[in-house]
Symmetry: C2
Subunit: 595 residues, 2 copies
C-alpha cells in the first residue's frame, strides 16, 4: 500500500541549513515568520496531510466526482476534510491579514503545497484554485471586489476557479470566443462555453467565484482583446451573503485518467453577470502573473507526487522478500532477501531520492526568492530575485512534473505486477501525476517559454543572473578538495549550458524553428544543472553538519545521494549537449503528409 | 480519438526489402509461406484488427470484466469478436497442421501480434495465453495430452493459461507453495492459490486449460522441485467433450490500472485433478522455453501500442489548430496552424516514428531467426540464429515495452489536456502499456537476464555473434559515402557496447553487484545499438528503392527518420557510457534504513 509521512526533517534541513530561513523574518511584514513559528506551522500541516487528506486519497480515486443535473458531488469524506481544512486556517496561510489571512511567506506556502499534493492531489486542487483566484483578485481587482470576495476566499466559505480554456483554444488563448456585453449598471453579461475548469462545480463551499477570460464585442482580435471578469455562481448580497443564482452552470464533468476526485467541468455561461477585473483588454497580462505562480504550484505537485511515490517504493522494497542478493544472502534466516538488496531496485529508489531532495531545495529557494522579490526593501535585490524566479519557473514546472511522473512510474516498477493493482495505490500516482505535465501550459510550452521569452529577457541578463549564481558558487568552492567530486561535474554541466546557449544565439535568429527544436532538451539541460547546483549546496550544508557533530547518518546519506546524482543522473547532460545541436532540420525534414 | 490502420505497407517493406521473407518458403515445412501468401494473410488480419477488434478497445476499457460467484464476463462484443477470430482461423496461424493449425512461420505470427495488440491489447491476451499453453504442451506434453488438448486450443473452442505467480512469489518462483499429490490413476491432486492469472476465467470458450507450476510433497526445495501440470476447468471426456467440473475456481478478479477487458484472476485450486507435463521437477526449464517466447510476444505488445499511439498523435497533430509556426503562418486562411508545424510536436512524433519503424524491422528479423532456428537444415545456421534470439529476447522485451509506454505518453502529450480525457482514447494506451514493463519478468529482470545469463552464455560467444553481425555490417558499408552519416554513429555506439562489456568483465567477477548496477543501462545501450543497426539496414533498402525508381516520398521519409534517430536518439549512448561505468558503489552506499 502507498504510504506517506511528511518529510519534516528534510524540509527543516533545507530551510535552516541549506537556505537561511531566518532571513525571512527580517523582511517587512514577515516579522512573525521566525524559524520556530514556521516549524510549528509545518508540523500542524503535516498532521492534517497525514491523518485527514492521505486516508481519502484512494477512496476519492475509486469513487470520483459524480454529476447530476448541474450538481457535482465530491467523494465521501471530502466535505468533512474541507471543513477541517478551513477551520485549521489552511485556506488563509499566505493571504493578506487585511482580509483575514495569516500573512505567511510564500516559502511556507510552497512547503505546505508539497505536503498537500503528496497526501491528496485531487483534494489540493480545490483550495489551490481558490488561491489562484485570490491572487488574481488581490492584484488586479477593484477595492470593492476585494472587500466583498477576498475574506470569503480566505476563510474558505467560498472557493474560486480560473476559466480560460474553450473547446477550440487551449494554449492559444487568442482564439477565445466567450463574449462579454457591457451593461448599464457597469457589470457585463457573459456568454460562452469553458472547458477543463477545475473545481468549476462541487459541494464543498456555499459559493464559487469564477475568473473568466472573455472578449467585448468590439475588442481587438487575438490576445490583445481579452479581458478578465469575476463571475460568481451566486450573486452576493451587499452584506456578503449568498443571493440570486447566476447564469453560469456546469454542463458536465470530464471522465479522466486521474485526479478523479477533482471535478473538471464544462461551464456554460448564458448571460451570466460579471464584473471586470483590472483593465479592459488587459486580461492576458493579469492572467499571466497568475499563471506563473500557478506553474510553480504545479511544479510542487510534481515534487509531492514524487515524494509519496518514493516513500511507497522504499516501504515495499524493504518488505517484499524475493530472490537473493547477487553477493550472497542478506536475510539468510528468511525465505528470500528484501528486494532493496538488488542494485537495480536501488537504482530506482536512488533516482527518486536524488530528485526529491534537491528539487525540494530548489523549490524552497525559489519560495524565498519570491518573498524577497515581494518584500525586500532594496529594489536591486527585488529585481535580482525576480530574474531568478522568471528563469526557474518554466524549468521547475516542466522538470518537476516530468520527474513526478517518472518517480511515480518507478514506484510502480518497484512493486512489480502488484504496482498495476489499484488497491496498492501506486498506479494512482502515475495517473494523477500525468495531468501535471499537461495543465498550466504543457511542458513543451514551458520549454518554449524558456527559450522564447526567458532566455532573451532583458537581453539575456536574467539568464546570466542564473548562470552567474552557479558560476559564483563554482568559483567559491573550486579549491575545496572535499567538494571536488561535486563542483567539477557542476562546472562541466554549466559549460554545456553555455555551449547550448551559444548555439541558440548563433542559429535561432536565422531560423526560429531552431529555438523550438532545442527547447525541451535545453530546458532539461538547465534543470539538471540547477539540480546539480542544489546538490552542491546540500553537500556543503551536510559537510558543515558533520563537522559540527550533527546527525552523522543523515548527513552522510545526503552526501551519498548527491554522489549518485553526479555519477548517474547528471551525465544525461552529455547526450543533451549532442541533441540540442542536432538542429531543426532533423525534425522538420518530413512534409506533414509523410507522417 | 485514437485511430488505427494496420501499417501493412511498412510491414511489407521490412519483410521484402529490408529482410528477405522469400527465404522462409525455402525452409522445410514452410514451402507454402510465399511472400504473396504472407501478404494476403496479413491483409486479412489487418481487416479483422481494424474493423472488429479496434472498435471494441475503448468500450472494453470502460466496461471491463465483471466477476460474480466465480463467473467472469468479458465486456460487450468480446464474445462475438472471439467467434469471428476463431472462425477466421486466427487461433491456428502458427500451430502444427497435425492438430489443425495452419503451420505458418513465426515471422507471420509476429506481424499479426503487433496488429492485434495495436487494435486491442486486452482482447489479444485471450488467444495470446492460449498460444503460450499450446506451445508448452506441444513441446513438453505426452502424446495423449497433445492429442486431446491441442486441436481444441488450435480451433479456439478451448483456451489456455499459465499459472505461475502466487502471493508470496513473483520473480522468485522457487518460493512456490502449490502442492501436487500423486494419485493412483497417474494423475495429481493439486491445491494452492495462484494470482495474476490472465484469462484465468472468462466466457469466451467452453473450457479453459491451465498450465500450473506446483511441487510434489517430497520435491527438492527451490526451483529444482517444481513441476508443470495441466489442469482443465472441465475434465474432458474420452471423446473430447466437456465433462465434470474440476476443482479450480476463480476467487476474484483484480482491479487494474489498464487492460481492463483482460481478466486477471485469483485461481484457487482445491484438490484439482491435473496431469504432469514433461518430467517431474523439470517444470522450470519447460516454463522457461515458454517464457522466452512470451517475452518476445510482450515486446511486440510494446511495438503495437507504440504504433497506435503514433498514428493517433499524428492524426491529432494534423487536425488541431493552435498557435502559429515560429517561422510564420502555414495555414494563413485558418484561425491557427495545425500543431504539426511546431518543432517540439515534431520531436514527439519523430521519436515515436523512429522507434516503431526500426523496432518492427528488429522484431521481424527475430521472427525470421526463430523460423531459421526451428527449421533450417544446417545445424550451424540453427545455432547462430538461436544465439541471436537469446541475446535479443531481453532487449526486445524491455526496450520495446519501455518505448511502448514512452510513445503512449508522447501521444497524450501531443493531445495536451485532451489527452487526459478518457473518451479520447490515448490515456488508455498509457494504462494498458504499463503492464508490459511488468509482466513476464519486470524490465529489471530482463536486464539481469541479459548481463547474468545471456552475456556470459557460451563464454560470451552469443554476445559476440550479435556484435559481430553489426561489426560485419559496419565493415561492409564503411566505404559507402552515402551511408557514412549512418554507419559512423553505429560504429561509435558499437564501440560503447564493447567498452561497457569490457568494464563488466573487469569488475563484475570481483563484485556481482557491478553486473546488477550496470544491467538496465547496458540493456538500453545495446537496444539503441541494435536499433541503429536496423536503421542502417532500412536506409540501405531505401537507397536501393530510390535507385530502382520506387515510391520516392516513402523511401525519403525512411532516410529522414533514420537521420533523426542517429542525431537525436542514438546520442543517449554517450550518457549511458558514463552511467554504466559509475559502478555499484553509487547505488549500494546507503544502508537500507537510510532510505
Amino acid at each position: 500500500m502507498a504510504v506517506y509521512k511528511a518529510p519534516l526533517k528534510d524540509i527543516q534541513f533545507v530551510l535552516t541549513e541549506v537556505l537561511d530561513v531566518s532571513s525571512l523574518a527580517k523582511l517587512p511584514g514577515y516579522e512573525d515568520a521566525t524559524p520556530d513559528t514556521i516549524q510549528a506551522i509545518l508540523e500542524e500541516a503535516a498532521k492534517l496531510c497525514e491523518n485527514v487528506l492521505f486516508p481519502l486519497n484512494r477512496s476519492g480515486d475509486e469513487e470520483g466526482c459524480t454529476y447530476e443535473n448541474g450538481v457535482v458531488h465530491t467523494p465521501k469524506g471530502f466535505k468533512e476534510a474541507y471543513r477541517q481544512f478551513c477551520e485549521g486556517g489552511w485556506t488563509a496561510t499566505t493571504n493578506d491579514p487585511a482580509y483575514g489571512g495569516q500573512g505567511l511567506p510564500a516559502t511556507v506556502g510552497f512547503a505546505i503545497t508539497e505536503m498537500i499534493t503528496a497526501a491528496n492531489q485531487s483534494f489540493g486542487m480545490y483550495p489551490g484554485l481558490s488561491h489562484g483566484a485570490y491572487e488574481a483578485l488581490a492584484q488586479h481587482g477593484s477595492d470593492e471586489l476585494k472587500k466583498l470576495y477576498l475574506p470569503k476566499l480566505t476563510d474558505g466559505t467560498w472557493s474560486g476557479t480560473m476559466c480560460l480554456t474553450e473547446p477550440q483554444c487551449g494554449t492559444d488563448l487568442g482564439l477565445i470566443r466567450t463574449r462579454a456585453e457591457p451593461q448599464a449598471d457597469g457589470s457585463y453579461s457573459i456568454s460562452g462555453t469553458k472547458i477543463f475548469i477545475s473545481a468549476g462545480e462541487h459541494d464543498l463551499t456555499e459559493n464559487i467565484i469564477h475568473l473568466v477570460l472573455a472578449r467585448l464585442p468590439d475588442a481587438p482580435g487575438g490576445t490583445k482583446g481579452i479581458s478578465l471578469f469575476l463571475v460568481p455562481k451566486f450573486l452576493p448580497t451587499a452584506d456578503g451573503k449568498v443571493g440570486e443564482r447566476n447564469g453560469i452552470r456546469c454542463g458536465a464533468i470530464e471522465h479522466k485518467m486521474g485526479i478523479k476526485a477533482s471535478s473538471t467541468c464544462v461551464m456554460n455561461l448564458d448571460g451570466a453577470k460579471g464584473w471586470l477585473v483590472g483593465e479592459l483588454n488587459k486580461g492576458m497580462p493579469a492572467m499571466f502573473v497568475m499563471m506563473n505562480a500557478a506553474r510553480l504550484g504545479v511544479g510542487m505537485q510534481g515534487l509531492g507526487i514524487a515524494e509519496c511515490a518514493y516513500q511507497s517504493a522504499v516501504a515495499y522494497a524493504r518488505d517484499r522478500l524475493q530472490g537473493r542478493s547477487l553477493t550472497g544472502p542478506k536475510n539468510a534466516g528468511g525465505p528470500a532477501d528484501p528486494i532493496i538488496v538488488h542494485p537495480d531496485v536501488r537504482r530506482m529508489l536512488m533516482t527518486q531520492k536524488s530528485f526529491t531532495e534537491a528539487a525540494r531545495a530548489l523549490a524552497l529557494w525559489v519560495g524565498m526568492l519570491i518573498d524577497e522579490a515581494h518584500r525586500h526593501p532594496d529594489a536591486k535585490k527585488r529585481e535580482a530575485a525576480d530574474d531568478l524566479i522568471q528563469m526557474l519557473t518554466p524549468i521547475i514546472k516542466a522538470y518537476f512534473t516530468d520527474m513526478g511522473s517518472e518517480c511515480a512510474n518507478l514506484a510502480v516498477q518497484t512493486y512489480g505486477g502488484h504496482g498495476f493493482i489499484r488497491e496498492n495505490g501506486v498506479e494512482q500516482l502515475v495517473r494523477d501525476a500525468r495531468i501535471t505535465q499537461l495543465y498550466e501550459g504543457t511542458n513543451g510550452i514551458q520549454a518554449l517559454d524558456l527559450v522564447g521569452r526567458k532566455l532573451p529577457m532583458k537581453g539575456g541578463a536574467a539568464a546570466q543572473r542564473l548562470l552567474g549564481e552557479i558560476a559564483g558558487f563554482v568559483g567559491a568552492h573550486k579549491g575545496d578538495e572535499k567538494m571536488k567530486e561535486f563542483v567539477e561535474p557542476l562546472e562541466k554541466a554549466l559549460g554545456r549550458v553555455q555551449d547550448a546557449a551559444l548555439f541558440l544565439m548563433q542559429n535561432a535568429m536565422k531560423n526560429h524553428d531552431e529555438a523550438g527544436a532545442a527547447a525541451s532538451d535545453l530546458l532539461r539541460l538547465m534543470a539538471l544543472t540547477a539540480m546539480a547546483y542544489m546538490w552542491n549546496r546540500i553537500v556543503v550544508a551536510a559537510n558543515k553538519g558533520l563537522a559540527t557533530g550533527g546527525d552523522k547518518a543523515f548527513y552522510e546519506a545526503k552526501i551519498a545521494t548527491g554522489r549518485f546524482f553526479m555519477a548517474r543522473i547528471l551525465p544525461q547532460t552529455t547526450s543533451l549537449n549532442h541533441t540540442i545541436k542536432a538542429g531543426a532540420a532533423t525534425l522538420m525534414a518530413l512534409p506533414a503528409e509523410a507522417f
